[in-house]
């Protein structure tokens, strides 16, 4: 048993060494394919963070009548806060609204001029600024706010937000769907490439396999070196993949830091915190595909 295992390992290593170019091509193809899959994962993580960032910047304002009494406003604020999708309700007074407006448009000469022409009259209304508890609950929150009726409410700017959120969701869905299709395509390509690589490898060994059968080698002994070679290819491929991919992430991170300036998003941390899940799953799947491909190819070409 131990001798057979040792010889399977020996024959497998010999096979990898004697067919070094074929082995290298197999590993490079594996690395490229899995690199593409990880690229998709990175794009998905970045786009998901980007969408969250945009959504977090969106809040909804309920504009109130300028003469609304303070107790009515407090009552409405409390009523809105009770909606399950609401994370925060903040009252913005007329004065605060004007201060924010002036600050935001201080470089716009026309708006500054228009404000001066009003002669100190504040044209803005007080408002309640509502933020959702969960970014995915935007649409439900908008629906709830639309159903909230109170005489002190002057207007709400929900519809505009709904449109933006729907567009973001639609784009996110399209990106996600496209990612899924591309991922599936990669999986199919990987399967075909690995299967063909195994077939070529076995074709080059057909005489040896025939002789092994002829002299009474067991099926496991014939299959063993090919299965082990597949595992070794996968293992080397994964080590190379992780090394190259982390170099890539380190190059990418400074650009992302600039893009998500006020957000604590780190793509390296994302992959590191999901290391076992991502790379572990990729290793298991790639190894299984490799093993099955080798198993089928040996079975087909040697009739063992």
């Amino acid at each position: 048993m131990f001798i057979s295992l040792a010889r399977i390992i020996k024959f497998s290593l010999q096979d990898i060494g004697r067919n070094i170019w074929l082995s290298l091509v197999t590993i490079v193809i594996l690395v490229l394919t899995l690199f593409s899959v990880n690229m998709l994962l990175a794009v998905r993580a970045i786009s998901s963070t980007a969408v969250s960032t945009i959504k977090q910047k969106i809040d909804m304002s309920i504009y109130l009548k300028p003469d609304a009494p303070a107790e009515r406003i407090s009552f409405l604020q409390a009523k809105i806060a009770e909606i399950p999708y609401v994370g925060e309700v903040r009252f913005v007074s007329k004065e605060e609204a004007l201060a924010n407006f002036t600050k935001n448009y201080q470089r716009d000469a026309k708006i500054s001029e228009a404000l001066r022409e009003l002669g100190g009259v504040n044209p803005l209304s007080p408002s309640l600024v509502v933020k959702p508890k969960n970014l995915n609950d935007f649409n439900a929150l908008i629906q709830s706010l639309q159903q909230t009726k109170d005489p002190i409410i002057e207007a709400g700017d929900f519809d505009n937000h709904k449109e933006i959120i729907d567009k973001i969701d639609a784009i996110t869905k399209k990106v996600s769907d496209a990612g899924l299709i591309v991922s599936l395509l990669f999986v199919v390509v990987t399967l075909l490439v690995i299967y063909n690589t195994a077939r070529v490898a076995i074709y080059t060994h057909r005489n040896e396999i025939a002789i092994m059968r002829l002299v009474g080698a067991s099926n496991w002994f014939i299959r063993g070196p090919f299965l082990l070679s597949s595992l070794i290819y996968t293992l080397i491929g994964m080590v190379l993949l992780v090394s190259i991919f982390y170099v890539f992430l380190n190059l990418l991170q400074p650009y992302l830091e600039t893009f998500f300036a006020s957000y604590n998003f780190n793509i390296i941390n994302y992959f590191s915190s999901n290391f076992v899940l991502i790379f572990g799953a990729e290793f298991v799947v790639a190894a299984l595909v490799n093993l099955l491909a080798a198993w089928w190819a040996v079975g087909r070409y040697t009739k063992v």
């Binding site: 092994m212 059968r213 002829l214």
Partner: protein
């Protein structure tokens, strides 16, 4: 030893290779199986080493019904019923000795035993002086002797020789037949598949003749009839 009981083999597309073949070969016999190309000789060998399955009938080796052979049992059968072919089937990148050692390696024999048995078998077939040469450096007869040595390492009960002299001149062919007779004298059952009239007639041993997949003659001391 070998028992064929109403054996038929039909390949896909309804090609009948063997048709109701029955015979019995005793342990230690030397039997020539003759017939023209396409008469079913090679199919019969393939059935004996578990390479093909009989469509009908039963094939027994000793008490072993090999018509019910499982995939996992096939390697054990091939160690008991060794086979040599016209094209030798040697690994060209290994020396003659390494070819013989390879047969022991793939079956899990310890290296100490391999290093002891392989040179001994090479000596039996008369190749001790050339065992470190590569197949490309020796004659056809020497390649075939290496194939025989490889077949002998497990001391098989049966040696199936499928056209072993097909690629050889008459002198080398005679040497191979002499070697097969020597192996037979040690008690190994030999089934020689050939269409070489001269060899069969000189052997003066049992001859089974196949024609179009049917057994047409079985003579205790036979001659090549077709």
């Amino acid at each position: 030893m070998i028992k064929f009981i109403h054996v038929s083999k039909i390949y896909p597309a309804n090609v009948q290779a063997l048709d109701d073949v029955s015979f019995f070969i005793k342990a230690g016999e030397f039997v020539s199986l003759v017939g023209q190309s396409g008469s079913g000789k090679t199919t019969l060998v393939k059935l004996l080493i578990g390479e093909e399955r009989a469509t009908k009938g039963q094939i027994m080796i000793g008490d072993w019904d090999i018509t019910k052979l499982s995939q996992s049992q096939a390697p054990y059968l091939r160690r008991q019923a060794a086979v040599i072919f016209q094209d030798y089937k040697l690994l060209t990148k290994k020396t003659l000795l390494e070819n013989v050692e390879f047969a022991l390696q793939v079956c899990g024999q310890p290296m100490k035993k391999i290093k002891s048995i392989a040179p001994q078998v090479m000596k039996i077939v008369g190749l001790e002086a050339k065992m470190h040469r590569y197949p490309s450096e020796v004659s056809g007869g020497e390649k075939q002797r290496t194939a025989i040595a490889r077949a002998l390492v497990y001391q098989p009960k049966i040696l199936l020789a499928d056209e072993p002299t097909g690629n050889l001149d008459s002198i080398n062919a005679k040497e191979i037949i002499d070697l097969l007779l020597k192996i037979n004298s040690f008690g190994t059952t030999v089934l020689l598949v050939t269409h070489n009239r001269e060899i069969v007639n000189q052997l003066k041993r049992r001859v089974i003749t196949l024609h179009d997949g049917r057994l047409v003659s079985d003579q205790a001391v036979g001659k090549y009839m077709i």
